[in-house]
Symmetry: C2
Subunit: 465 residues, 2 copies
Amino acid sequence: MSVKSNSLDFFFNPKTVAIIGASESLKFGYTMTNYLLKSSFKTYPVNISKEKIFGYKAYKRISDIPEQIELAIIIVPNENVLEAIKDCIKSNVKGIIIETAGFAETGIEKYVQIQHEIEEIAKTANIRIIGPNCVGITNFNNNFTTTDVEFDKLLEGGKISIIAQSGVLGNVVVDWASSQKVAFAKSITFGNKVDVDEIDMLEYLENDPYTKVITLYLEGVKKGRKLIEILKRVTKPVIVLKNGRSKAGFNAIKSHTGSIAGDDKIYDAIFKQLPGVFRVDNFYEMFDIAQIFATQPLPNGKNVAIITASGSLGSLACDQIEQIGLNLAPLKKSTIEQMKKDSPNWTSLRNPIDLGPSVFATFKPALTALMNDENVHAVLYIFAVPQKPLETFSLTMIPQFRLINKLVTKFKKPVTICVFGSRWTLDYLLEESPKYNIPIMTRTDHALKGLKMMYDFKAIKERKI
Amino acid sequence: MSVKSNSLDFFFNPKTVAIIGASESLKFGYTMTNYLLKSSFKTYPVNISKEKIFGYKAYKRISDIPEQIELAIIIVPNENVLEAIKDCIKSNVKGIIIETAGFAETGIEKYVQIQHEIEEIAKTANIRIIGPNCVGITNFNNNFTTTDVEFDKLLEGGKISIIAQSGVLGNVVVDWASSQKVAFAKSITFGNKVDVDEIDMLEYLENDPYTKVITLYLEGVKKGRKLIEILKRVTKPVIVLKNGRSKAGFNAIKSHTGSIAGDDKIYDAIFKQLPGVFRVDNFYEMFDIAQIFATQPLPNGKNVAIITASGSLGSLACDQIEQIGLNLAPLKKSTIEQMKKDSPNWTSLRNPIDLGPSVFATFKPALTALMNDENVHAVLYIFAVPQKPLETFSLTMIPQFRLINKLVTKFKKPVTICVFGSRWTLDYLLEESPKYNIPIMTRTDHALKGLKMMYDFKAIKERKI
């Protein structure tokens, strides 16, 4: 059933769109309808009982629209979905996104049955269907979205794409990530996946020039063997979050999207064997790691140097380095000598490099010495400066960012910044970071796990060559 | 050497203060000096070469000050510290906080030796010393601080106190926590601890009426047996973060505060046997958990009910419930029937309760039914609503908070909110939460670990009675 990936382009860049069930009332779909009608995407509202929606002429049925529709978004109540789909097929629509919930996930026989009928239609009709029980897609490079996310708050298109099952989550993830300056290429949620699923989307994103890193949130897997096949073929890093590790979680999935989780241990074992597939524990970890993959070069080894203004956070990160399977870089004597020239006598210049409050003045020579040291394969900069001195010294941060960017490019070694401090501090650093392509996060364990996965990914790549 | 805990009050509420090494230049201590001189705390700047500091008359030596000084804060360079201490002793100062770094932690013989001399002085003189290599204390109930934290940004005094070794960290933790609406009672950092240490401070905080929860960041332990003794006696929950789990971390501590970490596995085993002592992995976990202890009643059992708008996040949390050793509460039939009355047909009313986008309308009946169910001992509310609808519906959140507060008080069951969403969403909820005494965090694993520790703490309390 797999089709050429380009054939799904109409979901991401449709020439014409119909919103079936469009309405002005403050409920699910309100923001999307308002946004699409006012956007440059040719959008037609379909509503059985309204003349106008947000001032635009509404059509009773999709067949009343005087133009051929490529993509239909369905948000009518669950009992009316089947009829809407049949209308779409009659009108030769290429793709449907069914956002309405209330099908197999309810466990109610009547709605399970409707979902089966939709599945049958998808198999026989010349149409592709995303959903039901989802929020569809967002394309961050042309600002097309079928979600309730507001585009004026979003970043420009980035290099990370996300494939997720859940609807609400699809919206919120994008929302959250935007406020963390995690820039996406494409996001896709497919809910109960009667047709389009993670396999189609992995294939699509593998060929998508905008996507450098794929993040995949999995609940149930319907075609396990096919999933493994495609995961083997994908050459981009795939960061997977899969729930259902516990019996309770397993049951919860069933009542959420109506799919069967499968034995989690089997998937865990399979993921471990797949080169380029990395399993994570939660969404925060997922995007922090994706951000490192998206912005930093792959490290040539496992030796990490730590620079910080807080010896405590430095030594806590050392514990994590060992747990995660990296090494604390043994610095060359010349590196330490180099750093000593510019540092007060009380700074600790073994690795981790604790610059203390002198960090504003001594960061530049310290980072330069570390990046020049061939024993160092990656640098973790743990930023821990109280808000007050930072407000005073904040202008010194731009040269630091510029320096990091320059040295990363020159030496092809990854640098990650972890921030421990006030919201003001984090916001200040986040705001500036995208310009310099620097991944900023709060947790050192995420940064170090990311560096370890990057190292493993590089090892796999090289074995392939 | 232990003294009556009240005898350390002069550190937290000094009648008179001298800042030895006070200066107007933009370096360590600038913010503190400026703040204390302008505060209601009677503060005298001491500087060998300046006439005035921030417009206030400066004294060449502490003995020149025309008033008896209770507390001296030393921020002169490391080579001048010993002389400053001797001056303080001559002037009958009660307590000294040495913030200057550059002693045993450098590993340089000369500075290690100076620290030894300070230690000897502390043993014989009638004086208590905090430091060196620290930022001293903050009392959030009278706004006295010896740190560079800015008080106008801080919250009112709360119920959590922190004892930490590291200086920079002491500043930043308070900074960070304030911006997360984590309200502190007292914070203490003691760096290389030549005299005052975690044992003194645990004793002090056990008797401090403002402190309900103690958080303890430990690097090296010098008096292991005494620490264990006091930890056994403390009746308040103590949340411990200790580094040095790895060899690399162990070595890093040595070069940070010059103390010996001790065998981590022994401490791990000891902590596990100590009732009321809970070990955590990082600062984020530490304060999220402290926040639950500080605001919520102890649960009567291990059964957790989850309410959410995202079935995915709900099922991920189910996996964590099992891992952490809690139960997913088996709801009574009547509870489910009660919730059904007010919910659309597509919501999933098994536990986890997935209210989907109907959460604004159906939260009230759902939470009320759950709190009334004796099978439910605690509730986790995973808030996952995109920013856009939330902005529209945000006013519905205040009644939700009010309801939570009312039901927590009535049923004495803890409720914790985990937020997944944009920074705007988190900020909005955080801003309102303190008024209603609701712990808000981003990570469900922290919330669940906190509930588990609260359950264990209650079990210990009850065994004692």
